[in-house]
């Protein structure tokens, strides 16, 4: 600034005019910038912001679909939905977390387990995704929370539905149970429905395998909400589409009866319609109560189930495998007839059969027996002798044709199909030649051969009708079953043998049906759990070493309609443990009053029906000294 510039006010005036114009230009430019920016937001991004405004305004609540019912062949409910009350927390709207949870814990009498879980879930929860506090509440508790709502922001009491199984434990293995979606399942398919409180998916049994049919379509409740979460008004609500009902071939009354009749035993009852293959009954006891699972099973109950040596978590009808024992003798009989054995040929039973230097024992000294007598008396000697004559490779195909060793396309998560051994099988499996003693063992249903109660029931049904029926659990119209490859004459011989078992001088005469005009035919079986040692014969000692009791049967004898199998684990004998149950179950079909009278007398001695006994057992279990707590269930 060395050079003094002379500035006049005229020059400043001129500068002012120019600079004012410049300022005006800058203002206009900024104005245009705002206009351009606004146009961009409102025109180019209009759709995006419209959507955002809409998602601000509208709060979408998923209504879990009601699950499809299970109904029996006559339309009676097997699994339904029961209205229940539940309380959730919407994390976003929760003001005082700890106090709210504390208040809820007092109002709903929540356990510390539950409180810990709620805190854990709240920590991981985000936004409007509700966290379950409790469900299956009674109206009083629900109302207690509802009236305090103004003090409990973020708490949402709702009415929902939970799965209900009127039959309780009786249908546990048949239907399975439902539960909340696990983290893995959600990872696979991230539908928001899956983590909606109150939404359950099938976890086992038919509930699991028929999930797609049962699930239904969720509804949506749209409400207009303010930024503070206050509901302004309800917008259109799309109702849920309930899942489709599934009609089963089961006769639920018969099924329930069978389950109750199993009583204190660990075992299963399977009844087929022997003309169609429909599964009328498939009971397996003891069992968990699927209602406990659908409400979220407690830790104590879960522990009780897992510590029971009767394995209530196993569906014994499909997944239990047992040596069929003498129930396989009719199968051997059919094979013998096919391979030219005259049914009238006599074998003398002296209480055993000598093979080389080893004697295979019979249960008694039956003297001279033909085939029907051998079946009636369950004479091992006859079958040793004849089985050895035709060889087991000729018997195995018959066993397979009758359903043993087979797997069926049924919607159950798992079925075990057992083993029907023959020489090729043994070579493959053990790299050993089939021996004659293998034949003698297999022909009386011991040794390598194992089968499920389901297969045994099917076997009985196929023998009864002579039809190649296919088992089915979903009620539907099907083509008539084709006949099996056995001539009627052969079947008649075997059926007559089975008739004599019950109605002649056989092993199960005490289980004869007390009905006019209707008789049952059957075959007992007693399967060894371990090798016979000394004189014990598996009839005493520790429960788990006792023999299994089996019974296969059909009725009516003259015009078979039902085929069935009863397997009682460690029941010590088919005639003793299994046949009386089969008798009562089949009686129930024809004369409910008589069957119920028999059951009620028994239950009086057992300590009540299934529900009462489970409750008593639970009470005892709960009062046991608590085991040391697990290290960290979440780790």
């Amino acid at each position: 600034m060395k050079v003094e510039k002379q500035v006049t006010s005229g020059q400043l005036d001129f500068a002012f005019t120019r600079r004012a114009a410049f300022v005006g230009g800058v203002q206009a430019a900024i104005g245009l910038t705002v206009a351009a920016r606004m146009s961009y937001i409102a025109v180019a991004d209009n759709e995006k912001y419209k959507l955002l405004a809409e998602s601000n305004r509208v709060n979408l609540t998923i209504i879990p679909p009601r699950r499809g019912w299970f109904i029996d062949r006559f339309g009676k409910p097997i699994a339904t939905n029961r209205a229940d009350f539940r309380v959730d927390i919407i994390p976003d709207r929760l003001a005082k977390k700890d106090e709210t949870v504390q208040t809820l814990a007092e109002l709903l009498a929540l356990s510390t387990d539950d409180v810990d879980r709620i805190h854990r879930e709240l920590k991981n929860a985000q936004g409007f995704q509700p966290v379950q506090v409790a469900d299956g509440l009674d109206y009083d508790k629900f109302a207690a929370v509802s009236v305090r709502l103004p003090d409990l922001p973020g708490v949402s009491p709702r009415q929902g539905y939970s799965r209900f199984y009127p039959s309780g434990a009786a249908v546990g293995h048949l239907i399975g149970y439902v539960g909340t979606v696990s983290a893995e399942e959600y990872q696979k398919n991230k539908k928001p429905l899956l983590i909606t409180p109150g939404f359950k998916v099938g976890k086992d049994g038919l509930e699991k395998t028929l999930e797609d049919r049962l699930q239904g379509e969720p509804g949506a409740k749209r409400t207009e909400v303010t930024a503070r979460g206050k509901i302004v008004r309800e917008l259109t609500t799309r109702p849920d589409t309930p899942g489709k009902p599934v009609q089963l071939t089961i006769d639920i009354d018969l099924h329930n009866y069978a389950a109750r009749r199993l009583g204190l035993e660990s075992g299963s009852v399977v009844v087929f319609d022997c003309l169609t293959g429909d599964i009328i009954t498939m009971a397996s006891m003891p069992c968990y109560d699927p209602n406990s699972f659908s409400d979220g099973i407690g830790r104590v109950e879960w522990k009780m189930l897992n510590s029971d040596d009767h394995i209530p978590m196993l569906n014994k009808a499909l997944q239990g495998l047992y040596p069929p024992g003498s129930t396989l003798k009719p199968v051997a009989g059919l094979a013998m007839l096919r391979h030219g054995i005259d049914p009238e040929e006599i074998v003398i039973c002296n209480g055993g059969y000598r093979l080389g230097n080893r004697v295979f024992k019979c249960l008694g000294r039956h003297g001279p027996v033909n085939m029907t007598t051998a079946i009636m008396k369950s004479c091992n000697t006859y079958f040793y002798s004849m089985g050895r004559r035709i060889g087991y490779d000729n018997i195995a195909p018959v066993a397979r044709e009758l359903g043993l060793g087979q797997e069926f396309p049924l919607p159950f998560p798992s079925q075990r199909y057992g083993t029907v051994p023959d020489s090729a099988w043994k070579m493959r499996k053990y790299d050993q030649k089939w021996t004659e003693s293998d034949t003698l063992n297999a022909v009386i249903g011991q040794g390598y051969i194992i089968a499920s109660p389901f297969q045994l029931g099917l076997m009985a049904a196929r023998i009864a009708s002579g039809l190649n029926i296919q088992p089915e659990i979903l009620l539907q119209k099907r083509a008539a079953a084709k006949p099996l490859s056995f001539p009627k004459a052969h079947l008649d011989v075997v059926r007559e043998g089975m008739n004599l078992v019950v109605n002649g001088a056989g092993t199960a005469v005490r289980s004869r049906l007390m009905l006019d005009n209707i008789a049952m035919a059957g075959k007992t079986g007693t399967a060894q759990v371990r090798r016979i040692s000394g004189s014990q014969r598996g009839q005493s000692g520790a429960w788990k070493y006792r023999d299994h009791g089996l019974f296969v049967c059909f009725a009516p004898v003259d015009q078979p309609r039902y085929g069935a199998a009863v397997v009682i684990e460690h029941g010590m004998g088919g005639a003793r443990a299994a046949a009386p149950i089969a008798k009562d179950v089949l009686t129930f079909i024809y004369d409910r009053a008589q069957a119920m009278a028999s059951l009620e007398a028994l239950e009086a001695g057992w300590g009540g029906n299934i529900e009462q006994r489970m409750a008593a057992k639970y009470a005892v279990f709960q009062n046991q000294p608590a085991p040391p707590p697990p290290l960290d269930p979440t780790a």
Partner: protein, 370 residues
Amino acid sequence: MNGIVPAPIAALPWRVIFILMALVGFGAAVLYSAAGGHFDPWAGKHVLRFGILLGMVIIMSRMKLEFWKSITFPLYLLLLFLLIVVELLGFVGGGSQRWINLGIITLQPSELMKPVMVLAAAWFFDRLPPNRIFGIEAVWPLGALLLLPSVLVIIQPDFDAAIAYAFGLGVVGFMAGLPLIYFWGAGAGIAVLAPLVYFFGLKPYQQDRVLIFLNPENDPLGAGYHITQSKIAIGSGGIFGKGFGNGTQSHLDYLPEGHTDFVFATMAEEWGIVGGFFILFLYFLLMRWGLTVAMQSKTRYGQLVAAGLTCTIFFYIMINLLMVVGLAPVAGIPLPFVSHGGSSMLTMMLCVGIIMSIERHPGAKRGQFQ
């Protein structure tokens, strides 16, 4: 003018009054809708306040230019004193305070200082001999004028007001013919100082505002919420808007401050960009009026005051609109004549009143015979 309208009324500066009425009226309509279709609590007061202040403005317009010139410096000193009083009141009351409650109205000295700063700067340049405009004498008094009130408001803390003072002073200096090198230098200085101020001068909540302005989606539920919701309101309005009374963002409280700082978003949601352009057009007319008054004023003080006050109004408009459309950080600056709020309307109307007075008294050129 013919005789139907009485002469005193016909003589009023109707052009600007119509512009203001349009702005206030439209603002009232938006506030009416924002209150869910009620004049309470905003729209009614808004119009009433404008009516009273319009009377004050017309009285102000009668004042001669010399009057303003004579009270400028006393006014400046008075406000400086009041700023100190406010500071002391806040100190005694145990918290920051920005206003003095006079019973009938609340005075906010930091707000009133904005136009007065412009007056003070114009007063200074009016007294400065033209050939001293390049010297140091043209700069340090300005610095002094700016420094004292700025320090006082920054303590409050009201950083936005300090920026407004600097802006007003800078605009007047620019118009007065200060060398351009100063403005380039200031620009460069801000470029260097801004990061320093950001890291050392701003409080964490102010730092947040800047960060979030740069990327509002980073924090959609926290401090970025305002900008995000404002953009949603404007964007969802589209070209013609959702219709009067149908804005969901404002009615359901998603848009915060929908009746004050974000009133433009409330408007745009219901009226679309058509409404936005209408408001921009009214502002264009207002700015044109102000700058025209400045250009037509014959006195240097009149020129600088009219231009400076026009720019003060513009400063509000600019900061508010850029903020609402997401181009500037969130600052608590309302939209002139549209937003609900007494203190800002008082400031704006003071500006308008003084400009009107200049329009009425363009004065004569220095040295000319009056």
